[in-house]
Amino acid sequence: MDEELAFVRDILPYYEQSRKAVIPILQEVQSGLGYLPERALGEIARYLRIPASHVYSVASFYAQFRLQPLGRKRIAVCRGTACHVRGAPGILKAIEEATGLKEGETSPDLEYTLETVACIGCCALAPCVRVNKDVFGEMTREKAKDLVAEVGEEDRDVE
């Protein structure tokens, strides 16, 4: 936890002490720590001289921000329209079965997080799944299960 706070304190001086910096700061903290710890929000508020409730209101509003730690392997099933009509709900179900996680859950050992995203923008390759930064297109239930098995064997870095 103290390391997390030290990280936040290190990056803050690079930002203007103005409210408009709140989203870019939250983005950098999350990209460094993988999520936004509560104490980080307080630290950011102090630096920007705005209420902590404001920082929290922003952090809880946008889909990008996470207030809980994420798994090392983040599996994101695209639920865009093109993916939906080409079978995304079935893909999600297959991955839920393979990982034992429900949408939005992280495994207790912080190995996996299963999430859905509004659209990855690879609609022509629908349905798509993203693992950390890599996108896998034209998925089927079978391919999705294989992907989970494959991901389990690899050691990917967290973003």
Binding site: V22, A63, Q64, A82, V85, R86, A118, C123, C128, V135
Partner: protein, 538 residues
């Protein structure tokens, strides 16, 4: 033929990168080195070709030989053939309609039936090299504007072109520019909306990734026209490649004197900055986007309020246009308003870009003149419906749009005719659905999205969309009640009338249009506990 400047273009759009085009590029480079072809052939990374479904795509210029679905194992053969002036037959595109192999780009119906203005450079230039953009005529429009035109003349040209905002609403761009120009105050801003949040649309992403300098050039010209010194590009953080390429483009433009102090020796100075949107569909709404840039939750501002063009970012006059609108500007300046206005329909000039996806043979990014019929888009460019299935509906405009039935295929696609049919252009998503798609389930899907994305500020949207979703959810689970259709219609009309912003006003569209055109499917679910498409489990 071997003496000509030959180039191998490797697509580096997000779709093709997911198909390992980076590895293919490296292998091509190694093979070229090994076969001593470095002086004979140039290798180039490009942005999206649009035909993502056929990716990874490799194109050989000047012949325009088009290789689809290339794999890392194919690189040796491609280089060997290229050096001998031959073609690798097995990698050629296979037309699903005629069952024939097609050698060149220009002959593939997916491309030959399009007309590309906004996408003209996508897939042709290296988006990370400013020289490529300049070589394709880039920044010439900016030079002309700064040397030969007054801001009034630039605005008059944009007005005369008939360009309408390509973010979805279709507000005349020139009028917006003029309002910003006339608004009093020395400090003004230009914002590019690249927060493409519609599920099922990726054209803004492709333009930002494939031709970032065109967006910059359009914004700089806009800055000059309205008298702004600073611009922001608001891009979804979920588009990391677009962010990276835009940043590279900004750095390069600054070094070459297209951005910064006294641009091209003129008195005009302009700066650009990227702002990464943190993911909220409602930020497509101009006032919500502005709130977000200012460091607040992305909440739209209630009426009555001044227009963004009069009081936008930090209450200063702000010009907010979509990525494609800005990318169209340099072409309008270079070729003239009449050239641009010669395309499209009476009231909708120019071209429209669509993400053509779903149950259609050729998925990808397309650009056609405004007013092109759905039939031409789906059957001639899209190649029709695969597996001999029947087309059931076309969904345009994303969660704010509607579903049009097969009987409306001859509808000309533009802002006004789509709106009249109950749908909308939106940001340009076009999802084709066939007989295997249940329209009630599709409506439920969109309402699930909008009720999650409602910012919660106004009651009709926050509670109304939730109630509509609950009713649709019941219907798809076999628990629909008589009167549900009427209740959905009543709720939908009320929400459309009383919501605070565009998100709420358009949220009922998918439900209202599916009721209008596919009422019998709702009835089958409710009265017979039966899903005609076999999608809903009841």
């Amino acid at each position: 033929m071997l003496n000509e400047e030959r180039t191998i273009l490797v697509c580096h759009g997000t779709g093709c990168i997911s198909g390992s085009s980076e590895k293919i590029y490296t292998l091509l480079e190694e093979d070229l080195e090994r076969l001593r072809g470095r002086e004979k052939i140039r290798l180039k990374r490009t942005g999206c070709h649009g035909f993502c479904q056929q990716g990874p795509i490799v194109v050989l210029e000047p012949e325009g030989i088009f290789y689809s679905r290339v794999g890392p194992e194919d690189t040796k053969e491609i280089i060997a053939a290229a050096l001998q002036g031959q073609v690798v037959e097995r990698l050629l595109y296979h037309d699903p309609v005629t069952e024939k192999k097609i050698v060149s780009y220009g002959e593939i119906p997916f491309y030959s039936k399009q007309e590309r203005i906004i996408l003209r450079n996508c897939g042709r230039i290296d988006p990370e090299e400013i020289e490529d953009y300049v070589g394709a005529g880039g920044y010439r429009a900016l030079a002309r504007v700064l040397k030969k035109m007054t801001p009034e003349q630039v605005i008059a040209e944009v007005k005369r072109s008939g360009l309408r905002g390509l973010g979805g609403a279709g507000f005349p761009a020139g009028r917006k520019w003029e309002a910003c120009y006339r608004a009093p105050g020395g400090e003004k801003y230009v914002i590019c909306n690249g927060d493409e949040g519609d599920p099922g649309a990726f054209q803004d992403r492709s333009v930002m990734e494939g031709d970032p300098h065109a967006v910059l050039e359009g914004m700089i010209i806009a800055g000059y026209a309205i008298g702004a010194g600073k611009g922001y590009i608001y891009v979804r953080a979920e588009y990391p490649l677009a962010v990276k390429r835009l940043q590279t483009a900004i750095d390069q433009a600054r070094r070459q004197g297209f951005l910064g102090e006294n641009i091209l020796g003129s008195a005009f100075s302009f700066e650009l900055e990227i702002f990464q949107g943190a993911g909220a569909f409602v930020c497509g709404e101009s006032t919500a986007l502005v709130s977000s840039l200012e460091g607040y939750r992305g909440l739209p501002r209630p009426l009555p309020r001044p227009r963004t063009s009069e009081a936008g970012l930090w209450n200063k006059p702000t010009l907010l246009n979509n990525v494609k609108t800005f990318a169209s500007i340099p072409q309008i300046i270079l070729h003239g308003a009449d050239w641009f206005a010669g395309r499209g329909t009476e009231k909708c000039k120019g071209t429209a870009v669509f993400s053509l996806t779903g149950k259609v043979a050729n998925c990808g990014l397309i650009e056609v003149p405004m007013g092109t019929s759905l039939r031409k888009i789906i059957y001639e460019i899209g190649g029709g419906i695969p597996e001999g299935k029947a087309l059931k509906a076309v969904q345009t405009g994303g969660p704010s749009g509607g579903c049009l039935p097969a009987g409306m295929l001859d509808l000309p696609v533009d802002f006004d005719s789509l709106a009249a049919a109950g749908s909308m252009m939106g940001s340009g998503g076009m999802v084709v659905v066939d007989e295997d798609t249940c329209m009630v389930d599709l409506a439920r899907y969109f309402l699930d999205f909008t009720q999650r994305e409602s910012c919660g500020q106004c009651i009709p949207c926050r509670l109304g969309t939730k109630q509509m979703f609950a009713i649709l959810d019941d219907i798809t689970k076999g628990a629909g009640r008589p009167g549900d259709i009427e209740l959905l219609s009543e709720l939908g009309e009320m929400i459309a009338k009383s919501s605070l912003c565009g998100l709420g006003k358009t949220a009922p569209n998918p439900v209202l249009t599916t009721i209008r055109y596919f009422r019998e499917e709702y009835a089958a679910h409710i009265n017979e506990r039966r899903c005609p498409a076999g999608v809903c489990q009841m």
